[in-house]
Symmetry: C2
Subunit: 342 residues, 2 copies
DNA sequence: TTTTAGCACTCTCATTGTTAGAGTGCTAAA
DNA sequence: TTTAGCACTCTAACAATGAGAGTGCTAAAA
């Protein structure tokens, strides 16, 4: 990694800041006048030439200002950005919005996606918390019409699955309650394999119920992530660099189709930096479709028990400091919600 | 309504067909050569002049071909379009895709949105089926941790709500089961007002549970539509007329924010045409933001019991025949699913 | 009366030429 | 080491031009 002088770092920071604001190449003059630099534009130009040589800036054409490269953004995020935390009042406002829905997973997922999108002015995603190992909690059988049975499976952590069975002959609610009670007490807290070992079903109905609940548990376990909520897709489209080119459209299409997300979430190792928040800038050489975009991801939940992913994606020219602090804050907030229920 | 000769109708149809295909103004020549018209271009020009005068076509500029007006599309949809039904094999393929998820509302809503978007090459929406009157079906209380109680409310039709209560002291599962059993038998099939009249709670816990379930029932009842699933937003953005203008972006933004949808669904009277399918062309003078877009909506479900809405929205230059037949088919398919569960 | 060939007319769009100005790199002086 | 000054380059905006697309109209043909 190149070593930069304090002044070079400052100029790089200012250029990135100004470019994020204006979406245009930044001229040496603009820096001097608008940011009260105690330097002449010529000096700034010399430094800019150096930063261009070392790969942190580039020039769209000879007589244009400078634009940060991916490398430049990466250096900025890794070394220069001051580690902003969300101001106390913003935290309070956001926490307050969750007050009503803290007990309903689906609700707070949507809310989180909406807040992420609005605050970061980019697109956002939130995946449902995914348990490492699925455990049975409770089963309920409810007679609906004469031969139809609504079957509700509650997993540890409060996740709910439902299904409707049709039987050959009518079953009354008392019988159903007896079955569900015995199964519930028998299987409570058991994982998929234990459930399989314990169920020695007698009737046709019990057999199909047992089959179904093992299927649901297996599916839930194998999913890398359950539901994926997207929001703010149109925010990204409003950005000037995406108005013309259809690169963004293609990237958004991939994201809407959820194909990239799986890949992205599983391959981004979460090995590293910035306090559990992962920053992917310009596809990092791996994802060609994301050349113009950056993605900020964080896991949330209880490690080893149940985790989900949340994050924002926007133009490479995004406000990293603010976005990262939002992502980090929501990640810890949602972790609390998960901890309450698991 | 103007009276058009057969030839005029045919020319209007062909122009609309060709314009939907090419997204460009249609010239008199193109019609004669590409569609083997047994007429000269001059004759076609005369008819085109007439159709322009009567308001079905317009000319972007003097030396350009013709483009259908909103009025033109409306006449086409109302009078000229042959009432296409989806081919048998397409129906079968689609039905087959639903096979696995016919019992899970959330699943089939997503699937329906995805199929609508892909088939119509436009954006799609599906709202959850909304009961006319909410009725209690079943209540289940499950002890999770020492002082936490997971509370699952099942409404008639299979809709499920959940909440977590925290009590001052630990409660055992037997007590909870007793409470939920007695409440379930007491309240089964009752609507919100009857529930209110019947609950004369004794303990603090019972009181908060009763409060909550009445709140949920009330909220569910007051919603014009519950969950709204959107899909295929990026399909619309790929259309040439939206690449440049930001009109589409604004329209999509409104739709993403769900503000327009409520208005749209409630105000579109479903008074009319095309077998329960409602076609809104170019905002119909009411919605300015939708000048360039058309919306095809249909209700599904059991009228008077529980209904939802589904549809597609795309450029005004959309393939109405195909889209309408898809919407109609899915509407009847989902109606079957609703009928099975209510 | 209806259709059509022919032609003048209009408007767009792509191309070219031109110019102002934005911004740089370099040099020589401070 | 910094900076003033200046030549140089490239873009973006504008005007001028011409080809071509497509029309409307007229007068002749069916």
């Amino acid at each position: 990694m190149e070593r930069l002088t304090g002044r070079q770092q400052k100029i790089l920071s200012l250029i990135i800041h100004e470019h994020i604001r204006s979406a245009e190449p930044v001229a040496s003059n603009r820096l001097v006048t608008d940011y009260n630099l105690d330097l002449s534009s010529a000096t700034v130009r010399n430094e800019m030439a150096f930063l261009t040589e070392t790969g942190f800036l580039r020039q769209p054409h000879t007589s244009a200002g400078r634009v940060p490269t991916e490398e430049g953004y990466r250096y900025f995020v890794g070394n220069l950005m001051r580690n902003t935390t969300l101001p106390e009042d913003a935290r309070r406002t956001i926490s307050h919005q969750f007050y009503q829905s803290r007990n309903d997973i689906s609700n707070w997922m949507h809310l989180a996606a909406s807040i992420l999108a609005n605050q970061s002015k980019a697109a956002s995603l939130v995946t449902s918390p995914h348990p490492e190992q699925v455990r049975f909690k409770h089963l309920e059988l409810i007679a609906t019409h004469n031969t139809q049975i609504l079957c509700v499976l509650v997993l540890e952590g409060g996740e709910i699955h439902q299904n409707v069975f049709t039987t050959d002959e009518a079953v009354n609610q008392e019988d159903l309650s007896r079955i569900s009670n015995s199964l519930s007490t028998l299987l409570c807290g058991k994982n998929r394999i234990e459930v399989h070992a314990l169920t020695n079903p007698l009737t046709e109905l019990e057999k199909s119920i047992a089959d179904w609940l093992m299927l649901e548990m297996e599916q839930t376990e194998n999913l890398t992530s359950g539901e994926v909520i997207l929001d703010g897709l149109t925010n990204v489209l409003a950005e000037p660099e995406f108005v013309e080119s259809d690169e963004a459209r293609r990237a958004l299409k991939l994201i809407e189709e959820r194909t990239l997300l799986q890949d992205l979430i599983s391959r981004s190792g979460f090995k590293d930096q910035t306090n559990g928040v992962q920053v992917l800038i310009g596809g990092e050489g791996t994802w060609d479709e994301l050349k113009q975009m950056s993605i900020i991801l964080a896991k949330y939940g209880l490690p080893g028990v149940a985790t989900g992913t949340l994050g924002v994606f926007g133009p490479i020219r995004m406000s990293y400091g603010h976005s990262i602090s939002i992502v980090r804050f929501l990640s810890s907030l949602l972790s609390d919600f998960v901890a309450e229920q698991w």
